[in-house]
C-alpha cells in the first residue's frame, strides 16, 4: 500500500513541481508586488498597500480600457462564435471537398497571433501595405483607406484579424460537438416532419450546448486578455481608443516602470477572470447534466 502511495506521489511530483515553480510562486510574487512600492529599476521598497490598487484605478485610462475591453469581447465573441457555428454546419457532412474546406478554414489557426498581427499590420499599412492600393486600383475607393486611422476602423480591422485567425479553431471544436450528436436523433426528427429550422433550434443547438459553452468560455477569456493584436496593430491608438486592460498592465510595468501598480492591475484582472470562469463552468456543468 505504501509503495502504491509513493508511486502515486512520484507520478504527481513533476507536475506539482512545475505548477509550484511556474504558477504558484509567480502568483505569490505578483501578490507581494501588488502590495508593495516596487519600481522596475529600483526593486522592492517595502509594503504600501493599498496604494497600488487605488493608483491603478485612478489612472485616466483605467475605465476607458475596461469599457473598451468589454466592448471588444462582446463583438468578437458574437461574430466569432456565429461564424464558427456557420462554418461547422457547412463542413459537418462528409461531402466531397468537405475535408479540403475544413483544412482551409483551420489553416490561419496554425499561425502565431503575433505573427498574424504583424502580417495584417503590413497589409493594412497606408504607406507600405497593398490592401489600400488594391482597393484604389479597383476603383472601389478614391483616397487611400486608413484601416487603423479612426477608433471604429481600428476596432473593426482588429476584429477582422481575430475572426480570420480564430474562426477555424472554434469551428473545429463545434464540429467535434456536432459529430457527437447521434445520427438517429436527426433521422427521427425528420421522420416526424420537422423542418430544417426546427431541427436546428430544437435538436442541434440544445445538444451542442456543451461545445458552445466551452467555446464561449475560451473566447471570452481570450478576448478579455487581448494584448498582442492591439500591441502590434494599434499600440492602443488612435487617440487611446483601443487600449485594453492587459495593455494597461504592460504600460504600467514597462513604460511607466512601476511593477507595483502593474501587479495590482493583474490581480484585479485575475479576480474578474476567476469569477467569470466559475460562472461559466457552472453553466457548462449544468449543460452536461441536461
Amino acid at each position: 500500500m505504501r509503495s502504491r502511495k509513493a508511486q502515486g506521489l512520484a507520478y504527481a511530483a513533476p507536475t506539482a513541481v512545475f505548477v509550484t515553480v511556474f504558477f504558484l510562486l509567480p502568483l505569490l510574487l505578483v501578490g507581494q508586488m501588488s502590495l508593495s512600492d516596487w519600481p522596475l529599476l529600483a526593486g522592492d521598497r517595502g509594503l504600501n498597500a493599498p496604494e497600488n490598487f487605488t493608483d491603478a484605478i485612478d489612472t485616466t485610462l483605467f475605465w476607458p480600457a475596461v469599457r473598451f475591453t468589454l466592448l471588444y469581447t462582446v463583438i468578437v465573441t458574437a461574430v466569432l462564435l456565429g461564424l464558427a457555428l456557420l462554418l461547422a454546419l457547412l463542413v459537418q457532412e462528409s461531402r466531397p471537398a468537405a475535408g479540403f474546406f475544413r483544412t482551409v478554414y483551420f489553416l490561419p489557426s496554425a499561425l502565431g497571433l503575433a505573427s498574424a498581427s504583424l502580417l495584417f499590420w503590413g497589409l493594412y499599412s497606408p504607406t507600405t501595405g497593398p490592401l489600400s492600393r488594391i482597393l484604389e486600383n479597383l476603383g472601389l475607393v478614391d483616397d487611400p483607406v486608413s484601416f487603423l486611422g479612426t477608433p471604429t476602423s481600428a476596432l473593426l480591422s482588429t476584429v477582422f484579424l481575430i475572426v480570420w485567425k480564430f474562426a477555424g479553431f472554434y469551428m473545429l471544436i463545434l464540429l467535434v460537438g456536432l459529430q457527437r450528436i447521434p445520427h438517429e436523433v436527426f433521422e427521427a426528427a425528420r421522420m416526424d416532419g420537422a423542418s430544417r429550422g426546427q431541427i436546428f433550434r430544437s435538436i442541434t443547438l440544445p445538444l451542442l450546448r456543451p461545445s458552445l459553452a466551452l467555446t464561449l468560455l475560451l473566447c471570452v477569456t481570450g478576448s478579455l486578455l487581448a494584448f498582442d493584436q492591439f500591441f502590434v496593430l494599434t499600440k492602443g491608438g488612435p487617440d487611446n481608443s483601443t487600449v485594453t486592460v492587459v495593455q494597461l498592465i504592460y504600460r504600467e510595468a514597462f513604460q511607466r516602470m512601476n511593477l507595483g501598480t502593474a501587479a495590482a492591475l493583474s490581480v484585479l484582472v485575475l479576480a474578474v477572470l476567476l469569477l467569470l470562469n466559475a460562472l461559466q463552468f457552472r453553466g457548462l456543468r449544468r449543460a452536461d447534466e441536461s
Binding site: P126, T128, P144, V243, Q247
Partner: protein, 432 residues
C-alpha cells in the same frame, strides 16, 4: 560621495575577481586605481582578452556593429553585441536591472539615460572621461544627459540628428532654387506647398503623426531655433504651450488641412516614417541624419538645418549614449572599448566613413566629411542642437498612450484648442 564609495567597491570587486579568474596581478591593481581615482589604466582601460557583453537597440544597429567589428579585429578583448528590437529595449533593460543581469556595456537612447543614471544602473565614469585628452570635444549634450549629481556616467555612442532632407529634383520641377533650402518655418511652408502643387502623387512634406518620439525629434528643433525651451531645466515642467510652440503646431496643422502631407501621416506610429522620403515623392521633411548613408544613390537630396518660425536653426541631438553597467565585473576592459570608440581612428575610419555624425567636435571636419559638404552641415549642427533632459521622458513623450502624443494629435489633427490643457497633462506626467 555615496556613488564614489560604491564605484570603488565595484572596482575592487572587479579587481578581486580578475585576480582569481585570470591570476593577473597587473590588471588587478589597474582596476583598483581606475575605478575611483583615474590611475594610469583609467584613460585607456585594460585589454587582456576579456569577453565583454554589450546591448544596443535595433535603431542604431549598423553603427554599433561597425564599431564592435573594428574593435574586435584589433584588440584582445572581445565584445559580444546583442541587438534588441527598439520598442522592447526599455523593457529589456528594466527587467535585467531588476534581476541584476545587465551586460557589461549597454547603450541607450540618450533621452532615457537620466532615468537610468538616477536609478544607479551605470558605473561612475567621471575620472575616466575627464582623463581623455579630447574630453572637452565630446558631444556635450550627451555628456550633460548622462550627468547626475555632478557625476558623469555615459559617453556618446552614436549621434542621430534631426535635419531637413529636401528633394532637389522636385525643387527644380517646382521652379524652386535647389540650392536655397528653407531658412524659416514660413519658407519651409511655401516650398512644401510649391512642391505639393506639382500633383501626380507628389507631396509637399511628411511626418509621423501617431508617434510621440517623432514629434519630439522633428518638431522641437523649430521651437529651440527661436531660442525657446520645451522643458524647464529639471525636466519637471512642460513649456510646450508657448506662443512659439503654437506657431509650429499651426504650420503643421495647415499642412494637414490643405493635404500637403503625404498619405499615412495620421496613422504613422514611427515604424515606417523614414521610408517615405527615399521613394522620391516628398519635397522637404525632417529626417534622422543616420539615414543619410541609406538613401538611394540616384536620389538628389540636399540637407538643411531645421528652422524656427523666424529663422534660427537647431537640431535634436539624439542617438545612443553608452555606459558601463554598475554591476559589471570588467569595468576596466569595458572602458578600454569605450575609450577606443571615441579615439581618432574609430571616429574617422569607422563612424565618419559610414557617413555618420562624429561624437567629437574637433573631428567635425575630416577626410570623409570634406568629400561631402552635407556631412559638414550635419556635424556642425551638433553645437546648435539640444538633448532634452527629464527623468520621466519615456512615459511622457515616447509612450504611445502618453500625454504628449495626445497634445500632438489635438494640436495638429484636432481643433488645436486643447494645447494648454494637454500641456498641463504633460507637466503632470513629468512631475510624477
Amino acid at each position: 560621495m555615496g556613488h564614489r564609495v560604491a564605484t570603488g567597491a565595484v572596482a575592487l570587486l572587479a579587481a578581486v575577481s580578475l585576480v582569481t579568474a585570470c591570476g593577473s596581478g597587473d590588471s588587478g591593481s589597474d582596476g583598483g586605481g581606475g575605478g575611483g581615482g583615474g590611475g594610469a589604466a583609467g584613460a585607456t582601460g585594460t585589454d587582456d582578452g576579456a569577453t565583454l557583453t554589450m546591448w544596443t537597440r535595433a535603431a542604431t544597429r549598423p553603427q554599433s556593429e561597425a564599431l564592435v567589428k573594428a574593435y574586435n579585429a584589433s584588440h584582445k578583448n572581445k565584445v559580444e553585441l546583442t541587438v534588441v528590437p527598439t520598442d522592447d529595449y526599455q523593457a529589456k533593460v528594466g527587467a535585467a536591472a531588476g534581476s541584476k543581469d545587465l551586460p557589461d556595456l549597454f547603450a541607450s537612447d540618450v533621452v532615457f539615460v537620466p532615468n537610468y543614471t538616477s536609478s544607479g544602473l551605470f558605473a561612475d565614469l567621471t575620472e575616466r572621461i575627464d582623463a581623455l585628452p579630447f574630453a572637452d570635444s565630446l558631444a556635450q549634450s550627451h555628456i550633460k544627459a548622462g550627468t547626475y549629481e555632478d557625476r558623469k556616467y555615459v559617453v556618446p555612442h552614436t549621434l542621430d540628428l534631426s535635419v531637413l532632407f529636401y528633394n532637389k529634383d522636385l525643387y527644380r520641377k517646382a521652379k524652386l532654387d535647389p540650392e536655397k533650402p528653407p531658412t524659416t518655418l514660413g519658407e519651409w511652408d511655401e516650398q512644401a506647398r510649391a512642391v505639393d502643387a506639382l500633383g501626380g502623387g507628389v507631396n509637399g512634406t511628411f511626418f509621423g503623426g501617431n508617434c510621440g518620439g517623432c514629434g519630439v525629434f522633428t518638431w522641437w528643433p523649430s521651437i529651440w531655433a527661436a531660442g525657446d525651451d520645451v522643458l524647464n531645466a529639471d525636466g519637471t515642467e512642460s513649456l510646450l504651450a508657448s506662443a512659439t510652440a503654437k506657431k509650429v503646431y499651426d504650420t503643421y496643422r495647415g499642412w494637414v488641412d490643405d493635404d500637403i502631407v503625404a498619405p499615412g501621416a495620421r496613422d504613422e506610429t514611427g515604424a515606417t516614417w523614414t521610408g517615405v522620403f527615399p521613394k522620391g515623392q516628398v519635397g522637404v521633411m525632417p529626417m534622422p541624419s543616420t539615414t543619410l548613408g541609406l538613401m538611394p544613390k540616384d536620389l538628389d537630396l540636399g540637407i538643411a538645418p531645421i528652422p524656427g518660425p523666424d529663422g534660427g536653426k537647431s537640431t535634436f541631438v539624439g542617438g545612443d549614449a553608452i555606459g558601463i553597467s554598475a554591476t559589471s565585473k570588467s569595468a576596466d576592459q569595458a572602458w578600454n572599448f569605450l575609450a577606443w570608440t571615441l579615439g581618432d581612428k574609430a571616429q574617422v575610419d569607422v563612424v565618419a566613413a559610414h557617413k555618420d555624425v562624429v561624437a567629437r567636435a574637433d573631428l567635425a571636419s575630416n577626410k570623409y566629411s570634406d568629400a561631402d559638404p552635407r556631412l559638414v552641415t550635419i556635424n556642425q549642427l551638433v553645437a546648435d542642437g539640444r538633448t532634452p533632459y527629464a527623468l520621466k521622458f519615456g512615459q511622457t513623450f515616447n509612450d504611445p498612450n502618453g500625454p504628449w502624443l495626445s497634445l500632438m494629435r489635438d494640436a495638429v489633427f484636432g481643433e488645436g484648442t486643447n494645447v494648454d490643457k494637454d500641456n498641463d497633462a504633460v507637466s503632470a506626467s513629468l512631475a510624477e
